[in-house]
């Protein structure tokens, strides 16, 4: 049987991949996908905690509710974020973060 630490390790690895992707990649859509990976890594650890801490013989459903809310908010966030990317592309004709330097001092 897989233990709690196995799940937490896998979740941490997924978070690391997301973090590395945000730092390495320069395409803003890929960066956005990697943010989704990091959110999902948090979801995995929440569900693992929910399963491994039973309340009165059932999994702790408060943890799964939080995951439900995270998934819903993430869906809204993706829609708004992609709309911003579209608006950005219209204004600048690029989504490469190296070329978006208006805020650079």
């Amino acid at each position: 049987m897989a233990t709690l630490n196995d799940y937490l390790f896998v979740s941490g690895m997924l978070f690391t991949i997301g973090l590395a992707g945000v730092v390495i990649r320069r395409n803003i859509i890929i960066v956005f996908m990697c943010l989704e990976l990091m959110l999902s890594a948090a979801n995995l650890s929440l569900v693992a905690f929910s399963r491994f801490n039973t309340v009165k013989g059932l999994p702790d459903y408060n943890g799964q509710m939080l995951v439900f809310f995270v998934i819903t908010v993430a869906a809204a966030e993706v829609a708004v974020g992609l709309a911003i990317i579209i608006a950005l592309y219209r204004a600048r004709q690029t989504i490469h973060t190296d070329e978006l330097t208006s805020l650079k001092g």
Partner: protein, 194 residues
Amino acid sequence: MPSPLFWLFSLIMLIGGCAVIAFRNPVSSALSVVACFAGLAGLFVGLNAYFIGIIQILVYTGAVMVLFLFIIMLLDLKDEQKRAKSLAPLLAGVGLSIAFIIQLIGVLSKSPDKIAPALNAETLGAAAADFTKGGKIATALTDGRLPDVHLIGHTLFTQYNLPFQILGVLLLVATVGVVVLSKKTEEKKTEDRR
């Protein structure tokens, strides 16, 4: 969840995650995210969170990634492949990951490990006492099944009713916001020039 299945789904998830960063073509990256989330949904099902596993597939791999693919194809990015890879962000990313993994191993080696508490007919039957007798939840629990969706619905509409309604307002705001953001602003620009 038996260990071989756990490692299989974890492997699918992590390889999918690595492929997201490795591929140069954004469409391939988006499809790797789909593979990654499918593995993740498998892990959720293995943790007896059937409802979360299903909405992970429906919402993420179904709706969100289709939206991503749609935007990638709409923008039609051809110059991505020609770009030279710079070394500095690669080194920063790898260094950051290694530091994070070392930290993770350090924390996990000290934290107490836990084995999953049993979810069998005995424990589920004992939990049935808290629910209305003859109801769907109590019946399923006494039969030794875990009525996951019913329990989530029960928690959602009793303990989390207000956050749930606020979430509905949030989705409405997001929908209106997206429409406003993606509207063309040609007229406004000409007005500004005058």
